[in-house]
Symmetry: C2
Subunit: 233 residues, 2 copies
Protein backbone atom coordinates (compact mmCIF):
# COMPACT_ATOMS: atom_id res chain seq x y z
CA UNK A 1 0.00 0.00 0.00
CA UNK A 2 1.12 3.56 -0.62
CA UNK A 3 2.31 5.99 2.02
CA UNK A 4 1.42 9.46 0.85
CA UNK A 5 0.47 11.98 3.58
CA UNK A 6 -3.20 12.24 2.59
CA UNK A 7 -3.61 8.48 2.75
CA UNK A 8 -2.23 8.42 6.25
CA UNK A 9 -4.56 11.23 7.24
CA UNK A 10 -7.42 9.25 5.77
CA UNK A 11 -6.50 6.31 8.01
CA UNK A 12 -5.93 8.13 11.31
CA UNK A 13 -9.12 10.19 11.09
CA UNK A 14 -10.73 6.83 10.46
CA UNK A 15 -13.93 5.14 11.30
CA UNK A 16 -14.21 5.88 15.03
CA UNK A 17 -14.12 9.60 14.35
CA UNK A 18 -16.71 9.15 11.62
CA UNK A 19 -19.01 7.21 13.98
CA UNK A 20 -18.55 9.77 16.76
CA UNK A 21 -19.41 12.54 14.32
CA UNK A 22 -22.54 10.70 13.12
CA UNK A 23 -23.82 10.14 16.67
CA UNK A 24 -22.83 13.48 18.11
CA UNK A 25 -24.20 15.57 15.23
CA UNK A 26 -27.72 14.23 15.71
CA UNK A 27 -27.36 13.88 19.50
CA UNK A 28 -26.53 17.54 19.96
CA UNK A 29 -29.13 18.75 17.48
CA UNK A 30 -32.34 16.76 17.86
CA UNK A 31 -32.74 16.65 21.70
CA UNK A 32 -31.82 20.35 21.79
CA UNK A 33 -34.42 21.17 19.16
CA UNK A 34 -37.05 18.92 20.77
CA UNK A 35 -36.54 20.52 24.19
CA UNK A 36 -36.63 24.00 22.64
CA UNK A 37 -39.78 23.07 20.75
CA UNK A 38 -41.51 21.83 23.89
CA UNK A 39 -40.39 25.00 25.70
CA UNK A 40 -42.70 26.84 23.34
CA UNK A 41 -45.63 24.62 24.31
CA UNK A 42 -45.43 23.32 27.89
CA UNK A 43 -44.67 24.98 31.21
CA UNK A 44 -43.08 22.07 33.09
CA UNK A 45 -39.38 21.28 32.77
CA UNK A 46 -40.15 17.79 34.06
CA UNK A 47 -42.14 16.94 30.91
CA UNK A 48 -39.34 18.36 28.78
CA UNK A 49 -36.73 16.29 30.63
CA UNK A 50 -38.89 13.15 30.28
CA UNK A 51 -39.39 13.76 26.57
CA UNK A 52 -35.71 14.62 26.11
CA UNK A 53 -34.47 11.50 27.89
CA UNK A 54 -36.99 9.33 26.01
CA UNK A 55 -35.71 10.86 22.77
CA UNK A 56 -32.07 10.25 23.72
CA UNK A 57 -32.80 6.62 24.63
CA UNK A 58 -34.82 6.07 21.45
CA UNK A 59 -32.41 7.95 19.20
CA UNK A 60 -29.25 6.33 20.57
CA UNK A 61 -30.70 2.83 20.31
CA UNK A 62 -32.14 3.42 16.84
CA UNK A 63 -28.88 4.92 15.54
CA UNK A 64 -26.55 2.61 17.47
CA UNK A 65 -28.41 -0.59 16.61
CA UNK A 66 -28.87 0.71 13.08
CA UNK A 67 -25.12 1.31 12.81
CA UNK A 68 -24.37 -2.14 14.20
CA UNK A 69 -26.66 -3.88 11.73
CA UNK A 70 -25.41 -1.73 8.85
CA UNK A 71 -21.85 -2.77 9.74
CA UNK A 72 -22.85 -6.42 9.78
CA UNK A 73 -24.66 -6.13 6.48
CA UNK A 74 -21.62 -4.40 4.90
CA UNK A 75 -19.59 -7.49 5.78
CA UNK A 76 -22.26 -9.80 4.33
CA UNK A 77 -22.62 -7.67 1.20
CA UNK A 78 -18.86 -7.69 0.62
CA UNK A 79 -18.62 -11.44 1.16
CA UNK A 80 -21.48 -12.23 -1.20
CA UNK A 81 -20.13 -9.92 -3.93
CA UNK A 82 -16.69 -11.45 -3.44
CA UNK A 83 -18.05 -14.97 -3.86
CA UNK A 84 -19.91 -13.81 -6.96
CA UNK A 85 -16.73 -12.39 -8.46
CA UNK A 86 -14.83 -15.62 -7.72
CA UNK A 87 -17.67 -17.60 -9.27
CA UNK A 88 -17.76 -15.42 -12.41
CA UNK A 89 -13.96 -15.58 -12.71
CA UNK A 90 -14.11 -19.37 -12.58
CA UNK A 91 -17.15 -19.85 -14.84
CA UNK A 92 -16.67 -17.10 -17.42
CA UNK A 93 -13.06 -15.94 -17.25
CA UNK A 94 -13.13 -14.42 -20.74
CA UNK A 95 -16.08 -12.24 -19.89
CA UNK A 96 -14.37 -11.00 -16.72
CA UNK A 97 -11.16 -10.32 -18.59
CA UNK A 98 -13.12 -8.27 -21.14
CA UNK A 99 -14.65 -6.33 -18.27
CA UNK A 100 -11.22 -5.33 -16.97
CA UNK A 101 -10.14 -4.27 -20.45
CA UNK A 102 -13.30 -2.17 -20.80
CA UNK A 103 -12.82 -0.53 -17.42
CA UNK A 104 -9.20 0.31 -18.18
CA UNK A 105 -10.23 1.71 -21.56
CA UNK A 106 -12.13 4.39 -19.67
CA UNK A 107 -8.73 5.65 -18.49
CA UNK A 108 -7.48 5.82 -22.07
CA UNK A 109 -5.51 2.57 -21.86
CA UNK A 110 -5.34 0.46 -25.01
CA UNK A 111 -6.00 -3.27 -25.02
CA UNK A 112 -2.34 -3.89 -25.82
CA UNK A 113 -1.28 -1.91 -22.74
CA UNK A 114 -3.76 -3.62 -20.41
CA UNK A 115 -3.42 -7.16 -21.72
CA UNK A 116 -0.34 -8.15 -19.60
CA UNK A 117 -2.16 -7.18 -16.39
CA UNK A 118 -5.32 -9.02 -17.39
CA UNK A 119 -3.43 -12.17 -18.33
CA UNK A 120 -1.48 -12.06 -15.07
CA UNK A 121 -4.59 -11.56 -12.92
CA UNK A 122 -6.38 -14.37 -14.72
CA UNK A 123 -3.75 -16.78 -13.41
CA UNK A 124 -4.57 -15.89 -9.77
CA UNK A 125 -8.35 -15.89 -9.15
CA UNK A 126 -8.07 -14.37 -5.65
CA UNK A 127 -5.99 -11.42 -6.80
CA UNK A 128 -8.34 -11.06 -9.76
CA UNK A 129 -11.35 -10.95 -7.43
CA UNK A 130 -9.62 -8.45 -5.11
CA UNK A 131 -8.89 -6.28 -8.12
CA UNK A 132 -12.51 -6.41 -9.32
CA UNK A 133 -13.89 -5.63 -5.86
CA UNK A 134 -11.83 -2.51 -5.73
CA UNK A 135 -11.99 -1.41 -9.32
CA UNK A 136 -15.32 -2.54 -10.69
CA UNK A 137 -17.40 -2.30 -7.51
CA UNK A 138 -15.40 0.23 -5.46
CA UNK A 139 -15.79 -1.91 -2.34
CA UNK A 140 -13.25 -2.13 0.47
CA UNK A 141 -13.15 -5.17 2.72
CA UNK A 142 -14.91 -4.22 5.97
CA UNK A 143 -13.51 -5.35 9.33
CA UNK A 144 -16.02 -7.80 10.89
CA UNK A 145 -15.24 -6.51 14.40
CA UNK A 146 -16.16 -2.99 13.36
CA UNK A 147 -19.94 -3.51 13.52
CA UNK A 148 -20.19 -3.73 17.32
CA UNK A 149 -17.65 -0.98 17.90
CA UNK A 150 -19.40 1.21 15.34
CA UNK A 151 -22.84 0.76 16.93
CA UNK A 152 -21.52 1.43 20.44
CA UNK A 153 -19.61 4.53 19.31
CA UNK A 154 -22.60 6.02 17.47
CA UNK A 155 -24.99 5.28 20.37
CA UNK A 156 -22.57 6.55 23.03
CA UNK A 157 -21.86 9.74 21.11
CA UNK A 158 -25.60 10.34 20.73
CA UNK A 159 -26.16 9.98 24.49
CA UNK A 160 -23.22 12.23 25.33
CA UNK A 161 -24.28 14.86 22.80
CA UNK A 162 -27.94 14.69 23.81
CA UNK A 163 -27.34 15.20 27.54
CA UNK A 164 -25.63 18.57 26.95
CA UNK A 165 -28.74 20.51 25.81
CA UNK A 166 -30.86 18.69 28.41
CA UNK A 167 -28.76 19.57 31.47
CA UNK A 168 -30.25 23.07 32.02
CA UNK A 169 -33.77 21.60 32.06
CA UNK A 170 -32.63 19.23 34.82
CA UNK A 171 -30.97 22.04 36.82
CA UNK A 172 -33.51 24.86 36.42
CA UNK A 173 -37.22 24.59 37.13
CA UNK A 174 -38.26 27.61 35.06
CA UNK A 175 -38.69 26.69 31.38
CA UNK A 176 -37.61 30.01 29.86
CA UNK A 177 -34.43 30.14 31.94
CA UNK A 178 -33.60 26.52 31.07
CA UNK A 179 -34.21 27.23 27.36
CA UNK A 180 -31.82 30.18 27.33
CA UNK A 181 -29.07 28.21 29.07
CA UNK A 182 -29.69 25.22 26.85
CA UNK A 183 -29.42 27.37 23.72
CA UNK A 184 -26.25 29.02 24.99
CA UNK A 185 -24.32 25.87 25.91
CA UNK A 186 -25.58 23.96 22.87
CA UNK A 187 -24.49 26.66 20.43
CA UNK A 188 -21.04 26.59 22.07
CA UNK A 189 -21.00 22.78 21.95
CA UNK A 190 -22.13 22.74 18.29
CA UNK A 191 -19.45 25.28 17.43
CA UNK A 192 -16.67 23.31 19.17
CA UNK A 193 -17.97 20.04 17.71
CA UNK A 194 -18.15 21.48 14.19
CA UNK A 195 -14.67 22.97 14.53
CA UNK A 196 -13.07 19.72 15.69
CA UNK A 197 -15.04 17.76 13.09
CA UNK A 198 -13.72 20.09 10.38
CA UNK A 199 -10.15 19.43 11.48
CA UNK A 200 -10.67 15.68 11.28
CA UNK A 201 -12.58 15.59 8.01
CA UNK A 202 -10.30 18.09 6.25
CA UNK A 203 -13.01 20.76 5.82
CA UNK A 204 -12.31 24.34 6.85
CA UNK A 205 -12.86 24.23 10.66
CA UNK A 206 -14.59 27.61 10.93
CA UNK A 207 -16.96 26.85 8.05
CA UNK A 208 -17.71 23.45 9.56
CA UNK A 209 -18.37 25.06 12.97
CA UNK A 210 -20.79 27.60 11.49
CA UNK A 211 -22.58 24.85 9.52
CA UNK A 212 -23.27 22.69 12.60
CA UNK A 213 -24.49 25.79 14.48
CA UNK A 214 -26.78 26.59 11.55
CA UNK A 215 -28.29 23.09 11.47
CA UNK A 216 -28.94 23.11 15.22
CA UNK A 217 -30.42 26.61 15.20
CA UNK A 218 -32.70 26.06 12.20
CA UNK A 219 -33.94 22.72 13.58
CA UNK A 220 -34.54 24.17 17.05
CA UNK A 221 -36.16 27.34 15.76
CA UNK A 222 -38.53 25.44 13.47
CA UNK A 223 -39.43 22.94 16.22
CA UNK A 224 -40.09 25.81 18.63
CA UNK A 225 -42.41 27.63 16.21
CA UNK A 226 -44.34 24.53 15.17
CA UNK A 227 -44.76 23.24 18.73
CA UNK A 228 -46.06 26.65 19.78
CA UNK A 229 -48.49 26.71 16.82
CA UNK A 230 -49.85 23.26 17.73
CA UNK A 231 -50.25 24.01 21.41
CA UNK A 232 -52.13 27.25 20.66
CA UNK A 233 -54.80 25.38 18.71
Amino acid sequence: MSHTPHIEKHFTSGEIVRDTVIGMADGLTVPFALAAGLSGAVLSTQIIVTAGVAEIVAGSIAMGLGGYLAGKSDVEHFDSEYKRELYEIEKMPEHEKDEVLEILEDYGLTKAESQPIVDSLAKRPKDFADFMMRFELGLEKPNPKRALQSGATIGGAYVFGGLIPLLPYIIFSEVRQALLWSAAITVVALFVFGYVKGQFTGAKPLKSALQTCLIGSVAAGAAFLIARLISEN
Copy 2:
Protein backbone atom coordinates in the same frame (compact mmCIF):
# COMPACT_ATOMS: atom_id res chain seq x y z
CA MET B 1 -18.23 0.65 -18.17
CA SER B 2 -19.22 -2.95 -17.57
CA HIS B 3 -22.72 -4.31 -17.80
CA THR B 4 -22.97 -7.23 -15.43
CA PRO B 5 -26.33 -7.73 -13.68
CA HIS B 6 -25.07 -6.83 -10.21
CA ILE B 7 -23.65 -3.53 -11.44
CA GLU B 8 -26.98 -2.61 -12.96
CA LYS B 9 -28.75 -3.54 -9.75
CA HIS B 10 -26.25 -1.39 -7.89
CA PHE B 11 -27.16 1.57 -10.12
CA THR B 12 -30.93 1.26 -10.12
CA SER B 13 -31.23 0.73 -6.36
CA GLY B 14 -29.06 3.81 -6.22
CA GLU B 15 -28.77 6.86 -4.11
CA ILE B 16 -32.42 7.90 -3.85
CA VAL B 17 -33.33 4.56 -2.32
CA ARG B 18 -30.39 4.85 0.06
CA ASP B 19 -31.50 8.33 1.16
CA THR B 20 -35.12 7.21 1.55
CA VAL B 21 -33.93 4.29 3.69
CA ILE B 22 -31.78 6.57 5.87
CA GLY B 23 -34.63 9.01 6.50
CA MET B 24 -37.41 6.47 6.87
CA ALA B 25 -35.50 4.14 9.22
CA ASP B 26 -35.04 6.87 11.83
CA GLY B 27 -38.36 8.57 11.02
CA LEU B 28 -40.36 5.43 11.74
CA THR B 29 -38.35 4.49 14.81
CA VAL B 30 -37.56 7.59 16.86
CA PRO B 31 -40.94 9.41 16.86
CA PHE B 32 -42.63 6.06 17.54
CA ALA B 33 -40.31 5.38 20.47
CA LEU B 34 -40.58 8.93 21.78
CA ALA B 35 -44.40 8.83 21.70
CA ALA B 36 -44.40 5.40 23.34
CA GLY B 37 -41.98 6.68 25.98
CA LEU B 38 -44.14 9.68 26.76
CA SER B 39 -47.20 7.39 26.91
CA GLY B 40 -45.57 5.85 29.98
CA ALA B 41 -45.25 9.27 31.61
CA VAL B 42 -47.99 11.72 30.59
CA LEU B 43 -51.75 11.45 30.31
CA SER B 44 -52.42 13.94 27.51
CA THR B 45 -52.20 12.93 23.86
CA GLN B 46 -51.86 16.62 23.02
CA ILE B 47 -48.46 16.82 24.73
CA ILE B 48 -47.39 13.65 22.95
CA VAL B 49 -48.48 15.04 19.58
CA THR B 50 -46.68 18.32 20.29
CA ALA B 51 -43.50 16.48 21.31
CA GLY B 52 -43.80 14.11 18.35
CA VAL B 53 -44.28 16.87 15.79
CA ALA B 54 -41.42 18.89 17.34
CA GLU B 55 -39.23 15.78 17.07
CA ILE B 56 -40.23 15.19 13.44
CA VAL B 57 -39.50 18.81 12.54
CA ALA B 58 -36.17 18.78 14.40
CA GLY B 59 -35.14 15.33 13.17
CA SER B 60 -36.06 15.92 9.53
CA ILE B 61 -34.25 19.27 9.42
CA ALA B 62 -31.19 17.93 11.25
CA MET B 63 -30.96 14.87 9.03
CA GLY B 64 -32.02 16.60 5.80
CA LEU B 65 -29.73 19.60 6.25
CA GLY B 66 -27.00 17.26 7.46
CA GLY B 67 -27.39 15.15 4.32
CA TYR B 68 -27.36 18.24 2.12
CA LEU B 69 -24.16 19.59 3.70
CA ALA B 70 -22.54 16.14 3.65
CA GLY B 71 -23.31 15.91 -0.08
CA LYS B 72 -21.78 19.33 -0.67
CA SER B 73 -18.68 18.48 1.35
CA ASP B 74 -18.29 15.20 -0.60
CA VAL B 75 -18.07 17.28 -3.77
CA GLU B 76 -15.53 19.66 -2.17
CA HIS B 77 -13.51 16.77 -0.76
CA PHE B 78 -13.38 15.06 -4.14
CA ASP B 79 -12.41 18.26 -5.93
CA SER B 80 -9.62 19.07 -3.47
CA GLU B 81 -8.20 15.52 -3.58
CA TYR B 82 -8.43 15.61 -7.37
CA LYS B 83 -6.48 18.87 -7.56
CA ARG B 84 -3.91 17.39 -5.19
CA GLU B 85 -3.49 14.34 -7.40
CA LEU B 86 -3.09 16.52 -10.51
CA TYR B 87 -0.54 18.63 -8.62
CA GLU B 88 1.42 15.59 -7.47
CA ILE B 89 1.32 14.09 -10.97
CA GLU B 90 2.73 17.31 -12.39
CA LYS B 91 5.34 17.96 -9.68
CA MET B 92 6.53 14.47 -8.83
CA PRO B 93 5.49 12.14 -11.64
CA GLU B 94 8.06 9.47 -10.75
CA HIS B 95 6.73 9.22 -7.20
CA GLU B 96 3.17 8.85 -8.45
CA LYS B 97 4.24 6.23 -10.97
CA ASP B 98 5.94 4.27 -8.17
CA GLU B 99 2.72 4.48 -6.17
CA VAL B 100 0.75 2.85 -8.95
CA LEU B 101 3.36 0.10 -9.28
CA GLU B 102 3.22 -0.51 -5.50
CA ILE B 103 -0.58 -0.63 -5.48
CA LEU B 104 -0.66 -3.09 -8.38
CA GLU B 105 1.99 -5.21 -6.64
CA ASP B 106 -0.59 -5.88 -3.91
CA TYR B 107 -2.55 -7.76 -6.57
CA GLY B 108 0.49 -9.87 -7.40
CA LEU B 109 1.34 -7.93 -10.55
CA THR B 110 5.02 -7.57 -11.39
CA LYS B 111 6.60 -4.26 -12.35
CA ALA B 112 7.15 -5.57 -15.87
CA GLU B 113 3.43 -6.33 -16.21
CA SER B 114 2.31 -2.97 -14.80
CA GLN B 115 4.88 -0.74 -16.51
CA PRO B 116 3.00 -0.32 -19.83
CA ILE B 117 -0.08 0.94 -17.98
CA VAL B 118 1.93 3.32 -15.83
CA ASP B 119 3.82 4.75 -18.77
CA SER B 120 0.61 5.22 -20.71
CA LEU B 121 -1.19 6.94 -17.81
CA ALA B 122 1.78 9.23 -17.24
CA LYS B 123 1.24 10.67 -20.73
CA ARG B 124 -2.31 11.78 -19.83
CA PRO B 125 -2.43 13.55 -16.43
CA LYS B 126 -6.25 13.65 -16.28
CA ASP B 127 -6.64 9.93 -16.89
CA PHE B 128 -3.81 9.36 -14.40
CA ALA B 129 -5.62 11.43 -11.77
CA ASP B 130 -8.94 9.64 -12.47
CA PHE B 131 -7.16 6.33 -12.04
CA MET B 132 -5.59 7.38 -8.74
CA MET B 133 -8.90 8.73 -7.37
CA ARG B 134 -10.52 5.40 -7.98
CA PHE B 135 -7.68 3.08 -7.15
CA GLU B 136 -5.60 4.80 -4.50
CA LEU B 137 -8.35 6.72 -2.71
CA GLY B 138 -11.43 4.68 -3.61
CA LEU B 139 -13.36 7.88 -4.37
CA GLU B 140 -16.10 8.18 -6.96
CA LYS B 141 -16.93 11.55 -8.47
CA PRO B 142 -20.07 12.80 -6.71
CA ASN B 143 -22.81 14.51 -8.69
CA PRO B 144 -22.98 18.17 -7.52
CA LYS B 145 -26.76 18.22 -7.99
CA ARG B 146 -27.14 15.26 -5.64
CA ALA B 147 -26.65 17.27 -2.40
CA LEU B 148 -29.98 19.12 -2.57
CA GLN B 149 -31.89 16.06 -3.78
CA SER B 150 -30.28 13.95 -1.08
CA GLY B 151 -31.16 16.36 1.73
CA ALA B 152 -34.76 16.74 0.52
CA THR B 153 -35.19 12.97 0.15
CA ILE B 154 -33.83 12.20 3.63
CA GLY B 155 -35.88 14.96 5.25
CA GLY B 156 -39.08 14.06 3.39
CA ALA B 157 -38.71 10.36 4.20
CA TYR B 158 -38.22 11.24 7.87
CA VAL B 159 -41.44 13.31 7.93
CA PHE B 160 -43.41 10.63 6.12
CA GLY B 161 -42.08 7.86 8.38
CA GLY B 162 -42.55 9.92 11.54
CA LEU B 163 -46.20 10.79 10.88
CA ILE B 164 -47.24 7.12 10.77
CA PRO B 165 -46.67 6.34 14.50
CA LEU B 166 -48.07 9.75 15.45
CA LEU B 167 -51.42 9.44 13.64
CA PRO B 168 -53.19 7.44 16.40
CA TYR B 169 -52.27 10.09 18.98
CA ILE B 170 -53.91 12.69 16.73
CA ILE B 171 -57.04 10.54 16.22
CA PHE B 172 -57.59 9.13 19.71
CA SER B 173 -57.75 11.16 22.92
CA GLU B 174 -57.00 8.27 25.27
CA VAL B 175 -53.23 7.68 25.58
CA ARG B 176 -53.30 3.91 26.10
CA GLN B 177 -55.56 3.34 23.09
CA ALA B 178 -53.39 5.58 20.92
CA LEU B 179 -50.25 3.75 22.09
CA LEU B 180 -51.68 0.35 21.14
CA TRP B 181 -52.74 1.55 17.68
CA SER B 182 -49.42 3.32 17.20
CA ALA B 183 -47.49 0.16 18.12
CA ALA B 184 -49.65 -1.97 15.82
CA ILE B 185 -49.39 0.20 12.69
CA THR B 186 -45.73 1.02 13.30
CA VAL B 187 -44.74 -2.63 13.62
CA VAL B 188 -46.53 -3.32 10.33
CA ALA B 189 -44.88 -0.28 8.73
CA LEU B 190 -41.42 -1.29 10.04
CA PHE B 191 -41.95 -4.81 8.72
CA VAL B 192 -43.00 -3.62 5.26
CA PHE B 193 -40.22 -1.03 5.19
CA GLY B 194 -37.58 -3.57 6.25
CA TYR B 195 -38.86 -6.08 3.68
CA VAL B 196 -38.76 -3.60 0.79
CA LYS B 197 -35.40 -2.26 1.99
CA GLY B 198 -34.03 -5.82 1.97
CA GLN B 199 -35.12 -6.28 -1.64
CA PHE B 200 -33.35 -3.09 -2.70
CA THR B 201 -30.15 -3.60 -0.72
CA GLY B 202 -29.83 -7.27 -1.61
CA ALA B 203 -30.23 -8.54 1.97
CA LYS B 204 -32.70 -11.32 2.72
CA PRO B 205 -36.05 -9.43 2.87
CA LEU B 206 -37.49 -11.37 5.82
CA LYS B 207 -34.33 -10.97 7.88
CA SER B 208 -34.24 -7.27 7.04
CA ALA B 209 -37.92 -6.91 8.03
CA LEU B 210 -37.35 -8.61 11.39
CA GLN B 211 -34.29 -6.44 12.04
CA THR B 212 -36.12 -3.15 11.51
CA CYS B 213 -38.95 -4.39 13.75
CA LEU B 214 -36.38 -5.32 16.41
CA ILE B 215 -34.73 -1.88 16.33
CA GLY B 216 -38.08 -0.10 16.62
CA SER B 217 -39.33 -2.35 19.42
CA VAL B 218 -36.14 -2.19 21.50
CA ALA B 219 -35.91 1.59 21.11
CA ALA B 220 -39.60 2.10 21.98
CA GLY B 221 -39.53 -0.37 24.88
CA ALA B 222 -36.45 1.23 26.43
CA ALA B 223 -37.83 4.75 25.96
CA PHE B 224 -41.13 3.68 27.54
CA LEU B 225 -39.44 2.16 30.62
CA ILE B 226 -37.04 5.04 31.17
CA ALA B 227 -39.69 7.72 30.70
CA ARG B 228 -41.91 5.92 33.22
CA LEU B 229 -39.01 5.65 35.70
CA ILE B 230 -38.29 9.38 35.42
CA SER B 231 -41.89 10.45 35.78
CA GLU B 232 -42.37 8.30 38.88
CA ASN B 233 -39.57 10.10 40.72
